[in-house]
């Protein structure tokens, strides 16, 4: 098994899977639909083209930096008029960084890596106004998506790691799983067609894995025991 690692970072990014009408939401992690769309755009597939082998990819996402939810108020008016015909609220994740691992056939992933270096269409993270910052492609690795993410160092921005003030951090991991899995959650996020006249998604089963523990290379000083970070510190109770 081979996995392609992507680092998704931008001042604003948005991954919607459940938006309705004028309220455009974002999930707290990148969606499979958004990432398949990004890869398809890099390859040069039009929205009306079939997705074929991209549908066989498996995705796992690790949250390096959660970011904050931002709400953007947007109006659209016809040219020359002042009264808007459309008023919508769009949500974004600001200041977030994610590591996405895409697992699949090695040849396909090598082709995708090349496509990301010279994308056919301009790339964006969820919405067109969110171009990615920094290097998207972080190489091909052996192993499954979850294994690769378990071994990666912390890819958050240096200021965030410094502000964390702890020697180790716990990062959330969300991955594709089999539909029969007991703790699976369902998201309408399995893309079938991006054709603007008939967009289609099917149900995707995702599993929240145990958080991955990583070293904080920007930690300076003594570890402090902090009860503010309840969930993390209570982990030691498992040993009792």
């Amino acid at each position: 098994m081979t996995t392609l690692l992507l680092r998704l970072s931008a001042p604003l990014q948005s991954w919607g899977t459940s938006s309705r009408f004028t309220r455009r939401a974002t999930d707290l992690v990148p969606s499979k639909s958004g990432i398949v769309g990004l890869l398809a755009a890099a390859q040069g597939r039009r929205r009306t083209d079939p997705l074929e082998e991209l549908l066989s990819l498996r995705l796992a996402v690790r949250t390096e930096q959660e970011g904050r939810l931002e709400r953007d108020f947007q109006t659209a008016a016809r040219q020359g008029e002042r009264t808007p015909v459309s008023v919508s609220t769009r949500h974004y994740l600001a200041d977030a960084v994610f590591l996405a691992a895409v697992e699949g056939d090695r040849n396909l992933l090598e082709g995708l890596q090349d496509a990301l270096r010279r994308p056919h269409f301009p790339l964006f993270l969820g919405r067109r106004s969110c171009p990615p910052v920094g290097q998207l492609d972080h190489g091909l690795h052996d192993g499954s998506a979850v294994e690769v993410l378990g071994a990666q160092p912390w890819h958050a921005a240096p200021w965030f790691r410094k502000a964390c003030k702890r020697p180790r951090a716990f990062l959330d991991l969300v991955a594709d799983c089999d539909p029969g899995e007991p703790r699976a959650e369902l998201v309408r996020d399995e893309p079938r067609s991006f054709d603007p006249h008939h967009r289609q998604w099917e149900w995707r089963s995702v599993l929240r894995h145990k958080p991955i523990e990583v070293d904080n290379p920007d930690f300076r000083g003594e570890a402090t025991s902090s009860w503010r970070d309840g969930r993390r510190d209570l982990d030691f109770l498992g040993a009792l």
Partner: protein, 369 residues
């Protein structure tokens, strides 16, 4: 055909102002690098660029125009529906009549398809959508809808949509992907919104001696001031695809660059008179992928000489990114007032706005040819 991408980076300072506000009247903000930054949404600046663009580009000057419209449309109809091979010219003529273009048989050429009386510019997309109209008319047996045909034949709208994409969802524009991408503009430093408390004096009441000295109306206006980093990219190949004509693509790129750099959203402009021009502009021509340099400002700029530091950071980040990822831009130009621009003029050819846009147009035209 070689790949052509135009990246435009702008550093622009605005004085106390409220260019773009949300539903509560506050200037828009975003957190980046852990601090709150001023933000002007991508849609706000895209709209003002779009408005300026339309006044800069005279569609009458666009490149390939033809009289052989029946032939042009006929071929597309045949491509979409091969069963209409024989009747394609007739349907093409019907659509053109619905649009309001009269066609007559050309002189001295027997059996040649009819031509219009004057030159008309139709982008690829328009030809496709007009042909779709004809195919539908053939299928349903009804006459071609005049309003629909006229809408699809609107060239100004077409060039605009090819570059910016649809703004208000229209079914005919559903399949268009914009050739340009505009990012949200964010400030390079941390920003705090401030309030201006104002009163409005009731003149009549003021003149009346018996009345109290109270104001007629009181309120607050929220504002901030910032140095914004703005970024836009034009995918020239996609634009040429959408328009179907090299010369039109070149003119559109030039007009877009000028409109993006010089325009500004009009929010609260009468209250604050905030129309400024950019402190620094960097235009980069590349052949691999668009590269956004906002990473230069992830760590917020602090210090007194903010603009100079921002320019320095932009230049060094650009150099670092190009070195790390082995990117070699095809060409780069920069312009802006004063000596502060020095770090950028080490990376790019320094000129003025007209020289840069002319050079950009030439370079784009050479690559499209």
């Amino acid at each position: 055909m070689p790949r052509t991408i135009v990246d435009i980076h702008v550093l622009q300072t605005v004085p106390p102002s409220n260019l773009n506000r949300d539903d509560t009247g506050s200037p828009k903000t975003a957190r980046f690098g852990g601090v709150v930054r001023a933000r002007v949404s991508s849609q706000a600046w895209k709209r003002s660029t779009r408005t300026a663009f339309q006044s800069l580009l005279n569609t009458a000057e666009l490149g390939v125009r033809s009289k052989r419209l029946v032939e042009l449309l006929g071929d597309e109809i045949r491509r979409q529906d091969p069963s209409l091979t024989e009747t394609a010219p007739q349907f093409a003529k019907d659509v053109l009549t619905a649009v309001g273009i009269k066609t007559t048989p050309p002189r001295n050429k027997k059996d040649a398809p009819e031509e219009s009386g004057y030159l008309v510019f139709f982008s690829n997309r328009q030809v496709t959508s007009l042909a779709e109209l004809a195919v539908e008319a053939a299928r349903t047996g009804e006459a071609v809808n005049k309003t629909e045909a006229r809408k699809r034949a609107d060239t100004e709208h077409s060039v605009d949509v090819a570059l910016f994409g649809r703004m208000v969802a229209e079914v005919t524009d559903l399949n268009v992907d914009a050739a340009c991408q505009v990012a949200h503009a964010i400030s390079v430093h941390a920003v705090e919104n401030e309030y201006d408390y104002f009163t409005a004096v009731d003149d009549h009441k003021q003149e009346d001696v018996e009345e109290d000295a109270g104001a007629g109306m009181i309120g607050t206006v929220e504002f901030n001031s910032s140095t914004l980093y703005r970024y836009a990219t034009v995918d020239v190949d996609r634009l040429q695809d959408n328009l179907g004509d090299d010369k039109a693509a070149r003119r559109a790129v030039e007009a877009f660059a000028r409109a993006f750099v010089l325009s500004m959203p009009t929010g609260k402009q009468n209250t604050f008179a905030n129309r400024t021009l950019p402190d620094a502009v960097l235009v980069v021509l590349r052949d691999t992928r668009p590269i956004n340099l906002v990473g230069a400002f992830e760590e917020a700029v602090t210090g007194q000489s903010r603009i100079a530091e921002a320019i320095q950071r932009l230049a060094s980040h650009a150099t670092d990114v190009h070195t790390a990822y082995v990117e070699r831009p095809l060409a780069a130009w920069t312009f802006g007032p004063g000596e502060r621009l020095a770090p950028l003029s080490a990376l790019a050819e320094r000129g003025d706005v007209d020289a840069t846009i002319a050079a950009l147009g030439e370079a784009v035209a050479a690559r499209l040819a």
